[in-house]
Amino acid sequence: MSTDEFQQMWKAYDVKLEKSLRLNLRLFQEVQSQKARSALRSLTVSRVIGIVIGILYVVLLVFAFWYVRTQPVMAVSFAVFIICSVIAIGMYIRELGVIRTISYGGNIVDTQQKLAGIQSSIIWTLRICWVQLPFWSTFFVSNELLRKGGREFLAIEIPIVLSLTIAAVVLYRNITVENLHTKKWITWWIRGTGIKSVTRAMEFMQEIEEFKKEG
């Protein structure tokens, strides 16, 4: 069978469709008035929601920081929460900017690469979230608690802070795109954070890279 025969076959399919398909014009206006369900819209909505919630969260943190500003351990903890949240919001804003540049009218490789890139970027937000881990064990440590708790308190608190610091460093270093494929415990650890869609987006990114390669 020559390859042109496939095109002939496709043409025959076209003729068949031309004869038997009718466009439902009545429904057309309804479709136009429907809300877009596109991938772009769902990405935009999720980022906008993330930014709004993030800003509210940062406002609360700033109030809390102001309230505890004279208590060094608490103040540092809240400062770290604020910094991490602002970085995460900044990343979402940057992604929103990228989403705005995406057009379905662009070439397929570029458009799909940008879309998959945004879907996989959640990995960076996760890393930032884990950096805060040790500070969840310090944000309540007031001057009074330090004074009254004495050595007993420090004997419990210091190992906890150290363990969480080690955990934060390990997680920060290991939650990477490459490790999603090679280290099962990472995938297990961050399950439930939409990691399946991230993995698929990454696989698709690889597929796009392969597709772009010549030869």
Binding site: W10, S38, Q112, F211
Partner: protein, 173 residues
């Protein structure tokens, strides 16, 4: 052009290209309801993107880009969520009119061709559809965003596999 004329012109455009919209939807979705949803989304995106169309550029390139980008994104989203988005119950944008008597052998071949296309990766599928639509290598390269040489190499591989599939089928029969 006033909005009514614009609307009429757009409807005509969709009417003229309904076959390719159906074929793209069919290639990316196996389920009839999903196909219907995809078709609606493509039409919606074409309408929405209409104003951004640069009249100096080739219309078909623009249309294929939008249709295929939407199809790939839709396909990936559906696969991820495992859900279909309901729209309009039993209402269908494309309807079958009187079904014609089909040539059985051709029907079988088309089915085999569709089966082959549905097994390809998302990007190869787009490449194959454009080839079957008899687009030049240059236009395929422009729609996909790869070089003409790359188009030629990939197409020759895919066509080789397709030939193999058809010859196996013939030997089997």
């Amino acid at each position: 052009m006033n909005p009514t004329d614009q609307h009429a012109a757009f409807l005509q455009l969709i009417q003229d290209n309904k076959g390719i919209l159906f074929k793209i939807s069919h290639s990316y979705c196996h389920n009839r309801n999903d196909r219907e949803d995809l078709m609606q989304e493509i039409v919606y995106q074409l309408w929405k993107s209409g104003q951004s169309f640069d009249t100096h550029r080739k219309f078909s390139t623009w249309m294929y880009r939008i249709a295929l980008n939407v199809a790939i994104s839709f396909y990936r989203r559906q696969r991820r969520s495992g859900l279909r988005i309901a729209f309009g119950g039993d209402l269908h944008l494309m309807e079958w009119e009187d079904r014609t008597e089909e040539d059985g052998e051709m029907e079988e071949k088309i089915e085999l061709l569709q089966q082959f296309i549905s097994q390809l990766g998302e990007l190869d599928k787009a490449l194959m559809i454009l080839y079957l639509e008899e687009k030049s290598y240059r236009e395929i390269a422009e729609v996909l965003g790869i070089t003409e040489t790359n188009v030629a190499t990939k197409l020759s591989r895919i066509k080789g596999r397709l030939k193999q599939k058809f010859s196996n089928k013939n030997n089997f029969l």
